[in-house]
């Protein structure tokens, strides 16, 4: 059954990708969406078997598929590792993917290459499932690169748009930096533990808690180095500060792609990876502290940018970035269950928001700028309601899903009582306020007030077809209920039974402490969330002049935020331009002026010159020829006598 879950999407992708023209648009949509739905149903069955455990902790099982590499000590298998963590990810991935597949049928109605799109989506899902079911680091890396590839293909799906191509390349290249870290981390694991399989690493890890690595002449704490390298990989994939620049640009892709890849699944791969390797990360306080700081920084940094953006998808993208920060600092303080809990709820409400935004964009004839929307809530009431649900969940208002997960994350950060934990808590609270604010800014700008769209677009704004609305309802159910239902399993009383050994936890761990924080800590997130909403109402509905005044007063600061903290400009200055300059020098000076000039070009022109000379010898006169023969004989005899003194 688990095998079917993983390989059904691949089957769909192959059928739609290779035979898309034969079976037609409908056929490929049916095959891919159908196999995904089956896969999702099976995933739920697997998940429920894990969720139902009460007597004893859940165990992990391994399904061996094939032997992959056997080279000396290096043994590698294709195998599916099924434990609770995997089961959670399976449900998240297949459910969101199935929903997005169905949604795409409506959203991509006018697109000429539907089979290709569906094939990419399914292929992505397969790679993602490969990633979450991996039994060893290398197989995980396979999935990791597979999702990267599909992300690249889907961001650049509309390849006739130059921005889409640029964004696709940017995503690929920035991820490469992270992947480099990941790969080095895998090498480090093999170097240290002599194995890359999770069981092997976890079994060996405690023995290496004080191991050192000699690097650049200095002894380093080996687990720290490895964890930091792996975390760099996670930062790239999960768009943490520094390696986040690709995510907002990735919004050039079709909206279903943004929902599936850049909100719900792929970007959470980093979170999943850290959780999966929690036994390893537990060995290094330094690495965990780094994770916490990076998470906290990202949460606040992305939220501040989200305040100022006008593109509806970019706002949600920065919100995603920010929420990923939450997940990471939850992991950083050791609350792995909380991190995954937030991952799961976030997947539902963020996919809902993205697909809702897709409906808005669909209604507004592919307009994404919120400055050209407004007042359309009466036109598309259904979408409006769903966006409300998503936003409430995102802002952490009870009883919506985000409330439960965000609260436990923040409580855990507070309960850590460490410098990093306090920092993350403060940043998280501030970000929660900003999150609520920009979510309602989005809602109000899009749906309320006088319309700023042109009349034609406004008049023709219409609700999306059923095939797009039904998936949203599924996600809305998740956004409403998943937090409440899953709370006890993920972070409540049942968590020991539920997680089993799939993540590190103990009776006296951070989640336990998180339940015993002071009351104000528990209510603060909700309070700032409500404050943020109220603030948004004041600024965008009651007194619409306020934002303008604020922008004018804090002009530099606004510009700093609006230009995304100048990260792109900075990278352009530090990396892109010097690299281009260097490339130019090597190309023009090195390759052109030296290698080509004296190498291929020089040799070939010399050869041509010699060739002309040689054929010019051929004068056509017999006496010249005869003379050459005689000279030849004389020369040979002379040479002979010079060489051999007879």
């Amino acid at each position: 059954m688990e095998t079917a879950i993983v390989f059904l999407p691949l089957f769909g992708a192959i059928i739609a990708g290779l035979f898309g023209r034969k079976i037609g648009d409908r056929g490929s949509q049916f095959v891919t969406a159908g196999s995904l739905v089956v896969s999702a149903v099976l995933s739920w069955i697997v998940f429920l078997s894990f969720a139902g455990a009460h007597d004893q902790p859940n165990q992990s099982t391994t399904i061996h598929l094939l032997s992959w590499i056997a080279s000396g000590d290096f043994q590698l298998d294709w195998a599916l590792r099924i434990d609770t963590l995997t089961a959670v990810m399976l449900v998240v991935v297949t459910t969101v993917s199935a929903v997005v597949h169905i949604y795409s049928v409506g959203y991509m109605e006018d697109d000429p290459s539907k089979p290709r799109f569906m094939a990419y989506l399914s292929l992505f899902t397969f790679a993602m499932l490969m990633l979450v079911t991996a039994d060893n680091l290398v197989q995980m890396f396979f999935g990791w690169e597979g999702v990267g590839l599909c992300s690249y293909l889907l961001i650049g799906f509309w390849y006739h748009k130059p921005e889409a191509n640029a964004a696709a390349m940017k995503a690929f290249i920035v991820n490469r930096v992270g992947d480099f870290g990941f790969a080095l981390g895998i090498f480090g694991c093999f170097f240290l533990f002599g194995t890359v399989s999770f069981d092997g690493i976890f079994a060996a890890a405690p023995n290496f808690s004080d191991a050192t690595l000699l690097f650049l002449g200095t002894e380093w704490h080996a687990p720290t180095i490895i964890c930091i390298l792996l975390f760099i990989g996670a930062m790239g994939k999960s768009a943490q500060i520094g390696l986040h620049t690709w995510l907002p640009d990735a919004m050039e892709g079709p909206t279903p792609v943004s929902a599936l890849i850049h909100a719900a699944t792929m970007v959470t791969a980093g979170v999943f990876m850290v959780a999966r390797l929690s036994p390893l990360f537990e060995l290094s306080d330094t690495a965990l502290t780094l994770v916490t700081y990076v998470g906290g920084m990202t949460a606040i940094f992305a939220a501040t940018i989200g305040l100022t953006q006008f593109d509806i998808k970019r706002v949600i993208a920065y919100s995603t970035c920010s929420q990923l920060g939450y997940m990471f600092f939850a992991l950083g303080v050791g609350a792995y269950g909380a991190g995954i809990f937030h991952l799961m709820t976030h997947a539902f409400f963020k996919a809902l928001l993205f697909l809702g935004a897709g409906c808005v964009i669909h209604a507004m004839h592919h307009e994404q700028d919120m400055r050209k929307m407004g007042g359309i809530w009466k036109k598309i009431p259904m979408t409006y309601a769903l966006m409300w649900i998503g936003s409430l969940a995102l802002a952490g208002i009870p009883p919506f899903a985000g409330y439960f997960s965000k609260d436990i994350v923040l409580e855990a950060a507070y309960a850590a009582h460490s410098g990093a934990g306090n920092f993350a808590f403060a940043m998280g609270i501030a970000a929660a306020f900003l999150t609520a604010f920009y979510s309602w800014r989005l809602l109000l700008m899009t749906f309320h007030g006088e319309t700023r769209a042109d009349m034609h677009t406004f008049d023709h704004a219409h609700e999306a077809p059923k095939v797009m609305m039904l998936p949203l309802i599924v996600l809305a159910l998740g956004a409403i209920g998943s937090g409440y239902i899953a709370y006890e399993w993920f972070v409540g009383h049942d968590r020991f039974m539920f997680w089993g050994a799939s993540i590190v936890q103990s009776a006296d761990d951070i989640i336990e402490h998180a339940h015993h924080v002071p009351l104000w800590v528990k209510y603060l997130p909700l309070a700032v969330g409500l404050a943020g909403i109220a603030m948004a109402y004041v600024c965008y509905l009651l007194i619409p002049s306020i934002p303008g005044v604020i922008v004018k007063t804090f002009k530099e600061f606004h510009a700093f935020l609006f230009n995304k903290w100048y990260f792109d400009e900075l990278y352009d200055l530090i990396f892109v331009r010097p690299a281009k300059w260097l490339g130019h020098v090597f190309w023009k000076r090195g390759d052109g002026d030296i290698i080509d000039r004296f190498g291929p070009d020089g040799v070939s022109s010399l050869a041509a010159k010699i060739g002309r000379r040689a054929s010019a010898l051929q004068s056509g006169y017999v006496y010249h020829y005869a003379f050459a023969m005689m000279i030849g004989v004389v020369a040979l005899i002379t040479w002979y006598f010079l060489g051999h003194s007879v």
Partner: protein, 484 residues
């Protein structure tokens, strides 16, 4: 005794008798029967090849040790007969279309072939000269066969004058050798010279000078630098079928003769002639590669190409070892196949009944005649030495042999020259496949030519699988020379 001798020389005797009969037949029935003379000539060649193959007389010498018959002569003669036979069958329609359908044409081909077989079988400097001249005289005439065109007659005359000069050198060398050694028989020469060296006596100067002259005369026949000057002009001027013949059968025969003379009578002087051979091989490879770069006429290009190939073949001989000779023999066979195929393609280059010879005329051949373009593409890649095609293996064997003999520098330069050479071969492919299409060629080339093209192309592509038999045959042949 006489019977045994005649049996050993049976293929040559058979050929000579057939020539006389065919000549009579031609004389009495006139030019209208040219086609049947060609076909009969072809049959004669096939029959002679069978006789050579069966070797009814066995190995040994004949007619007062003037001639010999062994595995080496068999190998070389088979190659020569394959070359001659292919050209003969392709000439059938060619001479008709070119208005040179006279019955003497196939007869002259046969005479030349007979001369080649005799010189391959020569076991004495005298019989060597006789065979060589028989061949050359016939070739002078066919080169000038279209006596009404300036180019053909010019080619014939040039070839004749320079050929006469080289014959003179050869004769002079032979007389010097005879004067200082006192014999012209291969076996005696070998023994006497070996004796001289064995006693540690200084070599007579005249012998060495004679050797240089003999080598120069032979180098002219294989068109090795610096005795190559006639080749481009004659190849370009002669009728294409004659050029095809020149590039195949006589070249094989002369190379075989070169190998035989250097390795048998002058075997004891290997250290003396090696230096000459190294120089000649080097100069041929380099000139063949560079001078071809700026050619626009495909026949001229093939002339330089053949000069280059002779250079590679002589690399094997320059090694002066048995493996070297083996390599030369393998190279000869491969060279023969590639050249027959290529010239068969060139023979198809006709527009509105007229031969065209510019390389640029091949433009767009891939569209008008894709199969021929593919075949020519295969031949060119093979000549350039791209693995796994046959041409690569030829070079592989000679270079390996030279490396074994310690001629590292020669091999390095040879490889570099083949890189330069690859350019002009591959340029032809580029012109065929990527250039703006020129007018298509006439397509009534006849089945024989197509058959020859197809067979050679298949051989070039597929034969590397069956290299072992070829190698074994070459090994057997080489062992005959080295008294194995």
């Amino acid at each position: 005794m006489l019977y045994q001798d005649a049996l050993r020389l049976l293929p040559e005797l058979f050929l000579a008798g057939s020539i006389i009969v065919l000549l009579m037949y031609g004389v009495f029935s006139g030019d209208s029967k040219t086609r049947s003379v060609v076909i009969l000539s072809f049959a004669t060649i096939v029959a002679a090849a069978v006789l050579v193959w069966r070797m009814p007389g066995g190995e040994g010498v004949a007619f007062a040790e003037q001639f010999q018959s062994d595995t080496f002569t068999r190998y070389a003669k088979i190659l020569v007969l394959i070359g001659a036979g292919s050209c003969m069958i392709m000439s059938m329609r060619y001479i008709e279309r070119a208005n040179m359908a006279r019955f003497e044409f196939p007869i002259l081909f046969l005479f030349a072939t007979l001369g080649m077989m005799m010189m391959i079988s020569a076991n004495d400097l005298m019989s060597l000269y006789m065979g060589l001249e028989l061949q050359s005289l016939a070739l002078y005439v066919v080169a000038a066969f279209r006596r009404d065109t300036l180019r053909s007659t010019e080619a014939g005359l040039k070839y004749f004058v320079l050929g006469a000069l080289s014959s003179g050198m050869l004769l002079y060398g032979i007389s010097l050798v005879y004067g200082f050694v006192g014999t012209t028989g291969f076996d005696q020469l070998n023994q006497v010279i070996a004796g001289l060296r064995g006693e540690g006596q200084p070599l007579p100067v005249g012998l060495v000078i004679g050797l240089v002259f003999v080598a120069a005369g032979l180098a002219f026949k294989v068109s090795a630098v610096p005795f190559h000057m006639w080749t481009p002009d004659v190849y370009e001027g002669a009728p294409t079928i004659v050029t095809a013949f020149f590039a195949t059968a006589p070249k094989i025969a002369a190379l075989a003769l070169f190998v035989r003379v250097m390795s048998e009578p002058f075997a004891a002087l290997t250290d003396q002639w090696q230096q000459i051979l190294v120089f000649v091989a080097l100069a041929s490879m380099i000139l063949g590669a560079f001078a071809a770069l700026s050619q626009s006429n495909i026949k001229r290009l093939m002339a330089y190409s053949s000069i280059g190939h002779v250079g590679y073949a002589l690399v094997g001989l320059a090694a002066g070892t048995q493996t070297g000779v083996e390599a030369v023999l393998v190279y000869m066979a491969i060279y023969l196949i590639m050249n027959i195929g290529t010239f068969a393609c060139i023979l198809c280059m006709r527009r509105e009944g007229r031969m065209v010879e510019a390389i640029s005329d091949l433009a767009g051949l891939s569209k008008s005649q894709p199969m021929m373009a593919l075949a020519l593409c295969i031949f060119m890649f093979s000549m350039a030495g791209i693995p796994p095609l046959l041409g690569f293996w030829g070079k592989w064997y000679v270079f390996a042999a030279a490396l074994d003999a310690g001629l590292t520098w020669l091999v390095i330069i040879g490889v570099l020259a083949s890189v330069v050479g690859a350019f002009y071969y591959i340029r032809i492919i580029k012109i065929m496949y990527f250039d703006e299409a020129a007018e298509p060629f006439d397509k009534d080339t006849g089945a024989e030519t197509g058959f020859v093209i197809g067979l050679s192309a298949i051989a070039v592509v597929g034969l590397f699988v069956f290299l072992a038999p070829l190698e074994n045959a070459a090994k057997l042949a080489a062992s005959a020379v080295f008294g194995g």
